[in-house]
């Protein structure tokens, strides 16, 4: 039953899978071995990549969709959903990923954008999409294009949670404001957020996005996961934070698995400091990271996307 693009059935199935991922941790992996560790640690899904964001940041060059061979090997290694990234606007990469059978596509600012004006028309696909956002307008533009899950952009590959926090706070605050406004004020808000009025109205009524709202971009510790979830995120993506020691070297696999387990526990028990203490206690520090405040605009990934 894959002939249901663009209609309600399709939307319900796409957001339905995102519903199943709530309260969970989606982990970036680059090999079948890492995928197996992630699954064993309790990840609800993995993001199959050729390089994690920290490596992309360190090595530079054009970052593209991962090799289908690597993605296929990862799909064969685990029974949990497998996601993969395509470049912003690169609908041909997305078509390849759909053909490959990935469970979710992340149209991601972590890869080098392929189009400076347009995102992928996600309604044209059967496979669901997740997209990054820094504010409500960006989130709603992506939803209008067919995204069925929104994640904060944060600043990927840094291990610094500060912008994931900034973006989730921004989105939550902008939604709260809509809930107290009158009908006539919503038209002006639609203009301000550069978002479709119908979606603005839906958010004003519900106080939340019409699709699940996850967090990503710099989450590296159990407490980071708890922080963004207490601020309103419904699940977390952890990229470089699990398998990297610093931006170029991988952490010891046993240590990575411990970190992964701890962050999985933290996502479930995010409101329970006792559990957070327990799971944080025997971790030997997190990835070294890169402070976002020291990055200039040209090195930010989050400004990609329109």
């Amino acid at each position: 039953m894959s002939q249901n693009n663009g209609n309600t059935t399709s939307l319900r199935l796409k957001t339905g899978l995102a519903e199943m991922l709530k309260g969970g941790v989606i982990m970036d992996v680059t090999t079948p071995a890492q995928a197996t560790i992630a699954e064993r640690a309790g990840a609800v899904a993995v993001m199959a990549l050729e390089r994690v964001p920290a490596q992309i940041r360190a090595e530079g060059g054009v970052a593209r969709m991962a090799s289908p061979k690597i993605i296929r090997e990862i799909m064969a290694a685990v029974s949990i959903p497998v996601m993969a990234k395509c470049r912003i606007g690169h609908f041909a990469e997305a078509q390849v990923l759909q053909e490959l059978g990935v469970d979710y596509i992340d149209e991601s600012e972590v890869l080098t954008p392929a189009d400076e004006a347009h995102h992928v028309d996600k309604h044209a696909f059967t496979v669901p999409f997740v997209c990054g956002a820094r504010n409500l307008g960006e989130a709603l533009r992506r939803i209008a294009e067919g995204a069925c899950m929104i994640r904060t952009k944060g600043e990927a590959g840094t291990g610094d949670v500060v912008h994931a926090v900034k973006h989730i706070r921004q989105i939550v605050q902008e939604m709260k404001i809509l809930t107290v406004l009158g009908e006539e004020e919503l038209y002006a808000k639609a203009k301000e957020h550069q978002a479709p009025y119908e979606l603005i109205r839906i958010v004003a009524k519900a106080g939340k996005l019409p699709v699940p709202n996850f967090s990503a971009g710099g989450i590296a510790t159990p407490a980071d996961a708890s922080l963004v979830m207490q601020l309103g995120a419904e699940a977390v993506f952890v990229g470089s934070g699990i398998f990297m020691k610093d931006s170029t070297t991988f952490a010891d696999p046993a240590e990575s698995e411990k970190r992964a387990r701890a962050i999985v526990q933290a996502a479930t028990h995010y409101q329970d400091p006792k559990v957070l203490l327990e799971v944080s206690e025997d971790l030997q520090g997190a990835m070294k990271g890169l402070a976002v405040s020291g990055l200039d605009e040209a090195h930010m990934l989050q400004t990609r996307g329109w």
Partner: protein, 210 residues
């Protein structure tokens, strides 16, 4: 009547909303000791392997005791947890339902679908002796769904899709491979609340397991 929803991970909030809509008081269960506070439990959709990790051995044993004593309803991943035998890959089950279930049996997300199946319910005549079964259409949302490959002794089929059993009951345990919490139709959750009510009143003691 206090109904718990296992809230380790997954679409537990969709179940909470549905149960509250039907008038139940709901407790989101994250710790094993919270099982002592509830009269029935829903195990939601999500990733069954993740549930097992988050339960841990102690939580799993406690839950295994619970499902023998109190009504439990599992959807999708929850159905997998309640089964006796799990395939693709093999993993442990709570053994509350004498079924063999196969994970991701329809394929990947691209093979997820919304279908119409048949819900089998007892005729609502108000007469407890009228045990006639009636079939009626029911919308079913299947998301990377499992399939019940074998139905063992003592298991009653509550719903079918094509020739497949997709909802079953054995004593106090009930399961659906689809997601009634994602459809507008409330009959499946109502059937579970009826089971909880019956269990609480003690008018029926459908214990078929040791």
């Amino acid at each position: 009547m206090m109904i718990g929803v296992l809230a380790l991970q997954g679409d537990f909030d969709a179940h909470r909303r549905r149960l509250e809509e039907l008038g139940a008081e709901v407790l989101l269960v994250k710790k094993p000791e919270q099982l002592d506070l509830i009269d029935g439990l829903v195990i939601p959709g999500g990733e069954s392997g993740t549930f097992l990790k988050l339960l841990g051995d102690a939580g799993f044993e406690k839950l295994k005791q619970f499902v023998r004593l109190k009504p439990t309803f599992g959807t999708c991943a929850g159905a997998i947890l309640l089964a006796t035998e799990v395939e693709n890959p093999q993993q442990k089950g709570l053994g509350a339902l004498n079924i063999r279930i196969r994970r991701n049996a329809y394929g990947r997300q691209i093979d997820s679908s919304i279908r119409e199946g048949q819900f089998v319910a007892r005729h609502q005549s108000g007469d407890p002796h009228d045990a006639a079964l009636r079939e009626s259409p029911l919308e079913m949302v299947f998301i990377r769904a499992p399939k019940i490959e074998h139905v063992g002794e003592g298991v009653e089929i509550l719903a079918t899709e094509g020739s497949d059993p997709v909802a079953v009951r054995q004593g106090r345990a009930m399961a659906a491979t689809f997601h009634p919490e994602l459809s507008a139709d409330t009959r499946v959750h109502q059937a579970f609340l009826d089971l909880c009510g019956t269990d609480l009143c003690g008018t029926d003691t459908p214990v078929r397991r040791p």
